[in-house]
Symmetry: none
Subunit: 219 residues, 4 copies
DNA sequence: TATGAATGAGTATTCATTCAT
DNA sequence: CATGAATGAATACTCATTCAT
């Protein structure tokens, strides 16, 4: 999406504001059911000015998807590259994913519901990024099998169970709900790991190892 | 002899056909992004005739939701009322749910994505039915805790894990995919039950008990 | 409007029933805002059968207009031809007009509001009949001037005052209202005649003369 | 300097033009039988732009009713509050009413025919205003009875006669017709007052008193 | 930067009417 | 006589987008 050339210093700030507001509307009503006029009203901008910032409605959708996928992939790549037990890395990835979901519930709604309104190159890029994330999870599961922590599972099915459990959270989570990302991650991972682990693997000290990892990181 | 007013014999058949076709379109493109004209074209009917069958677009959505929720609730109530171990009943419910999801993937897409386009009484009824299903699951989990099969869990969180795992399946399942409902149910339940069970509960004979139950039922 | 050739004995009865029901709907909602489907529902007939009786929607309008104008003109011509004082004849015509208005309030609504939806020959015939009625009133007024009962008035303006007073009654009259046609006619005529009469004309015995005329008629 | 959001300077002018044009169409064809497309064509505007000005079709109807009722009520309240003989005030009100009718014949057509297409609050407000006008007339008639100018009449019936006589004028009056409001008011009031007055009341100098009142007012 | 005005195709829905059975 | 099914144009209204100023 070509941005208009040459714009002042406040441009990007306002632009990001508008995307925020659009995300909230899209989440509540759906992308197709939300009008440009409505976004303009919430943003306090007439249509002409709105288009100066957003370029097109689909552009807003692209930006929202990016705001989900860019930090998600960045974090996932970093975690995957850590020199740690794969099970620990899965636990870290789980929490990061849930933090993103809970922090940006509206963005996730849009991400999960309206990606099908993207066309052409935008859609292709999105699907590529989704697949990359899925691969990172699947590779971690395979690594955990290699270390003997997990049984021999169908890696794709294990990955899908992992994603089922996490990604559906947006459907019922509420902003400021009773459970935070760390708690949910502990619960989800406890369930999943007890299902995936080999009989000899002892997961009881996982949370202790997570705590020690965090301490090291902060230092 | 004049026929009484109403609808002819072919009416209901054609009507069901149209709902099928609409479900497929809604699943692919979303409810809001699918036009009545498009449905008419697929159904091979002019707009007037189409409305003769459907009444309104929202009506189609209601029918699709009903096709999911009615058999789901009927089956769930029947299973919940069985005089069997709660864990066994959860396993049976899991498979029934997955059978419905895999058999009507497009209906489930619509069910999961577009219920928010329902208004008023239709919406209220839908939410009531959803809550009833959730309560059935949650009550089975509580029963399993009472028998000592499961640990003392937050019953709501356990129910949400159960539903996360199952309900997100529609996002990646494909018609005629490699895994059937029975296999997925076994895998999902293995994971969930190993996460939920108390140390002394032995789930190894669950599948054997499922098989014996089926044999009894058929008789 | 060509009626379908060859129909049984009940045809005309049912036809008249349908026109009654349509008149009521048209009066309440307006001709343009009333649908054929609605008429069919009230008549308890499917659309096909309805068209068998009515021919077309405009046809209904024509019939309703006829039901007003035909008895009105018949009565007006008869009264105009009476060998009586023109003032007495005006009083008789007034009451006849009001009887028709009060007896068929719904028909009058349609008559006053929706004649403009008629096209071509139907419209021309209607306007011709309306003008004939106006001419009868105007000629009676002229006759009353000739006998010296009324001052020298602009006959057209006098006629319009007469019609204003009577024809607007449908706007506020209610079925079974507190005033009947005879009372209203007396009141309206008292006002109009006291305005129109020449100083030497004494209208005080008019009602007495009306009573005597009625007695003679009945005999 | 960015203009604040809202409407530009030409907006209201064009808006009023469109309402004018719509009134003419509604008067000729009826509200229900006039399409938005037709209005747009006459206004030289595409549908989108038309809606930018009108909001909705019913809105047009509301505006037209307002254009009749607002000046009518304003004038009626002012006249009713005058410190003058009630008969004189009735005569002044009569002329004001006829001036409005003759000046805006098309608006009056719509006012008389299509108010029933208003819904909800719009309809309620209209009926309230109509009743207020009727009450003003009726109160003037009662006041005239109190001063002894008029006989003891049923005040409601007298009011209805007054309104019958005036309000039906739109049915036959033509723009630029041979009679102006002052003339018609004199004629109508002569008829009505001669019908309503008590024997001892002398109305012969009414027109002279009207003339003197006008002179005083201009000063 | 921002506005108000305009477009034209698109929305869901209703209409009077026809006709084979 | 009467039905149910079908049509296709018409209904009021909304949409994302553009552009001169």
């Amino acid at each position: 999406m070509p941005r208009p050339p040459g714009h002042g210093p406040g441009y990007e700030i306002k632009r990001q504001q508008i995307i925020d507001q659009a995300a909230e509307l899209f989440a509540r009503q759906g992308y197709a059911a939300t009008g440009i006029a409505e976004i303009g009203q919430v943003a306090g901008l007439a249509k002409g000015a709105l288009y100066y910032y957003i370029g097109s409605k689909e552009n807003l959708l692209v930006e929202i998807q990016d705001r989900v996928l860019r930090p998600l992939l960045t974090a996932a790549r970093r975690i995957a590259a850590l020199d740690e037990d794969p099970v620990l890395r899965l636990r870290l990835l789980s929490q990061t994913l849930l933090e993103l979901i809970l922090a940006r519930l509206d963005h996730i709604w849009v991400y999960e519901h309206d990606y099908r309104h993207l066309r052409g190159a935008n859609r292709a890029r999105l699907l590529r990024q989704r697949r990359e994330f899925e691969k990172i999870v699947q590779d971690l599961l395979i690594a955990a099998m290699k270390t003997g922590a997990f049984r021999e599972l169908d890696p794709r099915l294990a990955m899908l169970q992992f994603l089922n459990m996490h990604n559906h959270t947006y459907q019922w989570a509420k902003p400021g709900g009773e459970w935070n990302a760390e708690f949910l991650s502990r619960e989800y991972c406890a369930t999943l790991i007890s299902g995936f682990r080999s009989p000899e693997y002892d997961a009881d000290d996982l949370e202790e190892r997570v705590r020690r990892f965090r301490e090291r990181e902060e230092a």
